[in-house]
C-alpha cells in the first residue's frame, strides 16, 4: 500500500505540531508511519537529531513492544515513554498506522505533554482520516 499526502494535509499537520509542541518547549516532535517513514517533523532548532534513524528504530521498538503486549494478553500498549537524564522520548499511537514521537527535556512536565499529545492526536486523526478514506 502506498499513500500520498498533499501540501494541504502536510501543512496542516506541521501546524498542529508547531502550535501544540513548540511553544511548550518540546525539543523535537515528529510523525511517522509504522514502516518507519517520516511524515512531518518540527524542532526547536537547538538540536540536529537524525530523525530518519530515530523513526526506523521507533517503529521497530513500537512493533516489538506491541508483540510483548499480545503475549501478556493486551491488544497493545498505545503509548511508551523512555526517560533519560536530560532528554526523554514519548511515543503515542495515532490511528492504526502512525506514531507521534516527542523528545523533550526536564523543563517540560510529562502530564502537560500527555495532554498536548492527546489533543494533537485528535487533530491529526481528523486530517489523516480525510486522506485515508478512499
Amino acid at each position: 500500500m502506498t499513500y500520498v499526502l498533499g501540501q494541504e494535509q502536510l501543512d496542516a499537520i506541521e501546524e498542529v505540531l508547531e502550535d501544540d509542541f513548540m511553544d511548550m518547549g518540546v525539543r523535537c516532535v515528529f510523525l511517522i508511519d509504522m514502516a518507519g517513514n517520516v511524515i512531518a517533523s518540527q524542532d526547536s532548532g537547538k538540536m540536529q537529531h537524525d530523525i530518519y534513524s530515530l523513526a526506523a528504530l521507533a517503529a521497530g521498538n513500537f512493533g516489538a513492544v506491541s508483540t510483548m503486549a499480545k503475549i501478556i494478553g493486551e491488544d497493545e500498549f498505545s503509548l511508551l515513554f523512555h526517560k533519560g537524564k536530560k532528554e526523554s522520548i514519548h511515543f503515542s499511537k495515532v490511528m492504526k498506522d502512525f506514531l507521534l514521537i516527542t523528545i523533550f527535556d526536564q523543563d517540560v512536565s510529562l502530564g502537560f505533554l500527555r495532554l498536548k499529545v492527546s489533543e494533537a492526536i485528535n487533530e491529526i486523526t481528523g486530517i489523516l482520516d480525510q486522506q485515508m478514506s478512499p
Binding site: 500500500m1 502506498t2 499513500y3 500520498v4 499526502l5 498533499g6 501540501q7 502536510l10 501543512d11 508511519d33 509504522m34 514502516a35 518507519g36 517513514n37 517520516v38 511524515i39 537524525d50 530518519y52 534513524s53 526506523a56 528504530l57 517503529a59 521497530g60 512493533g63 516489538a64 508483540t67 498506522d97
Partner: protein, 201 residues
C-alpha cells in the same frame, strides 16, 4: 508502505534484505555504506548480539537522487536470519516495498535457503502481501568461496530450488568483495519504483 510527500516532492521507500542466517545480508549493507559514503549522511544502524549477528535489524537510509522530479529516499533494512527470530523478521517486514533475498551458495545451506523463502512467503502473507507480486530479486551470495575449494551450489540448482516458480531476476554475488552488490541494489530499486509507478496509474 511507500510514502509520497507532495509538499517536499519526496518518496520514501522501504527495501528489506531477507534470507537465512549468516548469508551476508548485513555484509551487503556494509558494502553499500562504504561504497556510497557521500550519499549517506548518517551512520548505519545495527542492532546486534554479542556474536555480531543481527538481533533486530540493520538500517541504512540512502538518497537516490531525483526520479521524475521526486527526491527518492530508500530505506534499506536487513532482518535477523536465524529461525528463532521469526517474530522480529515479521516486524521488520511491516510496510515493505521491495525485497532482496540473499541466498547462501554453500552446498550445506541448500535447505535453509529453501526454508527461508517459504518463511518470507508466510510472513508477507501476514501483511496480505504475495511473494509473487512484491518486487523481489534473488542474490546468490558467497560465489567467491569457490576459489577456496568450498563446495557451492550451481546457479542452475539455486534457480531450480528457489526461483523456478517466482521467476524474478537473480544475480551471483560476493557481498564481501562487492561483486554484483550494487547491481542487485539497482535492480530492486528499479523494480520497486516501477511497481510504485504502476500503482499510481
Amino acid at each position: 508502505m511507500a510514502f509520497v510527500n507532495l509538499k517536499k516532492k519526496e518518496v520514501q521507500v522501504k527495501i528489506v534484505y531477507y534470507g537465512p542466517g549468516r548469508g551476508g545480508k548485513t555484509t551487503n549493507l556494509e558494502y553499500i555504506y562504504n561504497e556510497f559514503n557521500d550519499r549517506i549522511k548518517t551512520e548505519m544502524i545495527a542492532i546486534k548480539t554479542q556474536g555480531d549477528r543481527t538481533l533486530f535489524f540493520d538500517f541504512l537510509p540512502f538518497e537516490m537522487g531525483k526520479i521524475k522530479g521526486y527526491d527518492v529516499k530508500i530505506q534499506l533494512y536487513t532482518v535477523p536470519g536465524q529461525v528463532k527470530y521469526d517474530a522480529t523478521r515479521r516486524l521488520v517486514l511491516r510496510g515493505v516495498d521491495g525485497v532482496v533475498f540473499v541466498a547462501d551458495s554453500m552446498k550445506v545451506r541448500r535447505k535453509s535457503n529453501m526454508l527461508s523463502v517459504k518463511n518470507l512467503q508466510d510472513n508477507l502473507a501476514t501483511y496480505k502481501k504475495s511473494i509473487f507480486k512484491i518486487p523481489l530479486v534473488f542474490q546468490y551470495n558467497k560465489r567467491d568461496l569457490a576459489g577456496d575449494g568450498i563446495p557451492l551450489l550451481s546457479h542452475e540448482t539455486m534457480e531450480k530450488d528457489l526461483n523456478s516458480r517466482l521467476k524474478v531476476p537473480s544475480f551471483e554475488a560476493s557481498a564481501l568483495k562487492g561483486d554484483n552488490v550494487v547491481k542487485t541494489l539497482k535492480k530492486i530499486i528499479t523494480l520497486t519504483m516501477s511497481a510504485l509507478e504502476k500503482e499510481f496509474k
